[in-house]
Symmetry: C2
Subunit: 141 residues, 2 copies
DNA sequence: ATGTGTGCAAACGCTTTGCAGTGGG
DNA sequence: CCCACTGCAAAGCGTTTGCACACAT
């Protein structure tokens, strides 16, 4: 996977070691990226590639990956943390009935917000747009 | 307070009882609304108006208020829950250094998102835009 | 040799739940 | 008068931390 190499390089450049555990977590994150996984889901997938990994290491690795900008923690009003690889901005639509999360492009809108806030003196690192309601499936039942 | 009466009526209309505890929580939420309070902060303020209230009741009341649309749980990637009275959409800017949260108007942008998604078959109940970065204070140090 | 990184298990902190009692409508 | 609601304390659950060990450099 080409993309994976990019992520691994980001880590190396920041004085963090590329351990089997960290590689396993990144691999898990890449594979699960379309479902906004929580720590437990990432943990279970990462075990395929590093069976001895512990949940604490997953949490510590997620912190490292957030710090180096590889992933971000998603701002959902959920009790558990959800994570995704950093990529171009998009809208998250979260269905309040079935909890499905949809991704919808929104580079343009995010960019406008970005520009306006930078003009006002804010340094913008991440724009996040979440929409809550009923998805087409749940809304028509 | 005029606004408070509106919130109380919403509750009454939904077959929920207007207890001193619930009134106290609503009053606390109104007073603290500009600081996106967590349950503990709401609890401490509510005790001014109902000294015997318990934290469990605060949590249960918050659930009721969310269900009736009086308040919403804010989608911040924080471990604790944060709440605010439902009002017209705005951007939250959350400083990653000092954790200050700023509110910035954005009715227009939210409305555009709203319209586009409704066209696609989603039923939108709540649009939430969060921006993360450094606030003017922290960015210039 | 040094210190970053790890697994385990225990601790932590916020939130939820069970239950017996209370009071609003 | 009945049942929604409450306070208390205990349990629950996701996350963090302390510690001894491992292993890269």
């Amino acid at each position: 996977m080409l993309q994976e190499i990019v992520e691994l390089e980001k880590l190396q450049k920041s004085d963090y070691r590329l351990t089997p555990q960290r590689k396993a977590v990144i691999k898990a994150l890449m594979e699960l990226d379309d479902e906004h996984p929580n720590a437990e889901t990432i943990f279970n997938r990462a075990r395929r590639y590093c069976p001895t990994i512990g949940i604490a290491t997953v949490y510590r690795t997620l912190d490292v990956l957030i710090e180096t900008g590889v992933i971000k923690k998603l701002p959902f009003p959920s009790r558990r943390g959800h994570y995704e690889i950093q990529k171009s901005p998009h809208i998250h639509f979260i269905c309040q009935k079935c909890s499905q999360t949809y991704e919808l492009d929104d580079e343009e809108k995010s960019f406008t917000v970005y520009q306006e806030l930078e003009k006002k003196g804010y340094k913008v690192r991440n724009v996040s747009i979440n929409v809550f309601g009923l998805c087409p499936d749940c809304g028509n039942k």
